[in-house]
Symmetry: C2
Subunit: 343 residues, 2 copies
């Protein structure tokens, strides 16, 4: 398998991305194609131990920066690393694309004319997904940012795409599907949530619906797949990130202010380490962009080499489990049965 | 001053509510009117030390339960504690209402015919607010649940009402106002956020706008007032609650799994206590329902006596600072200058 890595993507690019790419190539035995400035990438590669790692470079002279307007940037920069990477996928030269860059840019590149892989036929809108830790295990969530304003039928498709991913890539049989809402009770929620719930209930099409999930219950493991519009989903995951980082910061400050607590914290260090490992986004690598006609994985901008490596592993397993075909099959089945439930 | 407390509100009602009410009466020197089942309230009161506390009972035979549909319940239960409490406020018999009950029920009671205090003239929609801890201090946020689907002009009013509260009740001069969004960059956000931003920028009317704030930056103290629709705002605060509780639970589990870490945690106990105190919602008591023509404070359903006491303190300080008049004045000024900025 060959995975294209947008090597100019992360906040620490290209060094971090190259290091993660080399690690992934070595650990998985698959080839990683680093896409970006050839000279800089070659320089960084020269310092890495490449034994057992198949790594190549594909030149791209431009970069879509974090602050840029995604669609405009992708249109203007035809030689941007993410556009070139997407072109390799479209042309069948690689099996997947991984990027820790501007997530809007990744989405735009997948749909723009230059690198266009396009949508799976019948897909209204692609959605960005992520995996989050819960008290019981994991949670698959989408959309977390691709579509700020959504229609109910888009969310219905997100539910099906999420179910396909949970089943085929994560190996969860009959994944429990919930809608993110402001109350678990039926009838709660925005108009969008209520209309989506009504559509889903009238034609569940094999979905194992478990109702609404509130922000406070997100991490209690009540659902395997949580569906939301990209605006609320983004607010949920970023608020979770912000809360965790504030809490750990406050804890550190209060411990540091007390010598005895400092001593105690030293004894408790392995426990803190275990917490960090269980909750660390880097362990999950990245979230798949679902609905596009190819395997694309978006990693966190603040990824380190470990996170990049893990994002590449996510891409490889999505390829192995043939997620694109699974989504295609499921959506075809749903479209064939618009008003009835096979369940 | 006389504060009506819906004594049937919290999850631990009426005992918890009565205890909190008695504490507040003693600590503040103001009278607390307990509204609820007279017999039960009298029984609980008989076990309390009432020295230095002026507490009375107003009978109400019904309760709006947590799971009920707010508007329907309020219409059907004319003798519900929250409806009776609101009637006391409408009739000028008390200065404020505090409830830890169904927040939709509190909102509905304030607008329904039975206990109607109604909106401040010109207010599109009342909003539920809350105070949250940040790394730097506090954050005032609204709407967190009254209005799931909002219009831009409602959010503009939320911004003005939030500014009035921050200035007059919290004592923050020129409070920094931000919109909750999925990206801090201008041009990011849902259609609602973008249209609200455009309206605010075209007529800031004395607001100190600082742009958009993302979930991950909510607790970094970048804004004093964060404005959102009730759906996203609810998701943000509940996700924060869920994240904090998961993190502390995971930390406890990992510590308990290690004897040495257990010993360390004992030494660090005062630090943990300090963290809990800094981040505990109970310290903030409750959030004002803004836009209604009277002082109404909604406390968390999981309030204990301390939280109830603090919610009553919030109500007293909102009365003392005359928040209703401040909002009235500000909205009049804004309406008088629809297309120009006095700033």
């Amino acid at each position: 398998m060959r995975i294209a890595l947008d090597a100019m993507g992360s906040d620490g690019a290209p060094t971090i991305d190259v290091q993660g790419g080399v690690q992934a190539a070595r650990d998985t035995g698959h080839e990683v194609v680093l896409v970006g400035d050839q000279t800089r990438l070659a320089e960084i590669l020269a310092r890495e131990n490449l034994q057992g790692a198949t790594v190549s470079i594909e030149h791209a002279s431009q970069v879509v920066e974090m602050g840029e307007h995604p669609a405009q940037a992708v249109r203007a920069k035809k030689d941007a690393s993410i556009v070139v990477a997407m072109g390799l996928l479209r042309d069948g030269k690689v099996d997947a694309v991984v990027s820790a860059g501007n997530s809007g840019g990744v989405l735009a590149a997948s749909l723009a004319s230059a690198g266009r892989i396009g949508r799976i036929p019948g897909v209204h809108r692609p959605a960005i997904s992520t995996i989050l830790p819960t008290l019981q295990g994991h949670l698959f969530m989408l959309d977390i940012g691709a579509n700020t304003d959504c229609k109910p039928e888009w969310l219905v498709q997100f539910a099906h795409m999420g179910a396909a991913y949970a089943e085929h890539v994560l190996g969860i049989s009959q994944p429990r599907i919930a809608l993110l809402s402001n109350g678990e009770e039926k009838g709660k929620g925005s108009t969008l949530v209520q209309e989506t719930a009504a559509l889903l209930e009238s034609a569940p099409c094999g979905l194992n619906l478990v109702g609404n999930v509130e922000g406070k219950d997100l991490f209690r493991g009540l659902a395997d797949v949580v569906v939301s519009d990209g605006f609320s989903g983004n607010i949920a995951i970023k608020t979770a990130e912000g809360t965790a980082s504030m809490l750990l910061r406050v804890l550190r400050d209060e411990i540091k202010a007390r010598p005895l607590a400092m001593a105690g914290a030293l004894l408790a260090k392995p426990a803190f380490g275990a917490v960090r490992k269980r909750l660390d986004f880097r362990e999950y690598g990245g979230g798949a962009l679902l609905g596009v006609d190819g395997v694309v994985v978006i990693a966190h901008g603040r990824s380190d080499a470990l996170a990049i490596r893990n994002a590449i592993r996510v891409a490889i397993s999505a390829c192995e489990r043939n997620i694109v075909q699974s989504i295609r099959d499921r959506l075809q089945k749903v479209t064939a049965l618009p008003d009835s439930s096979p369940a």
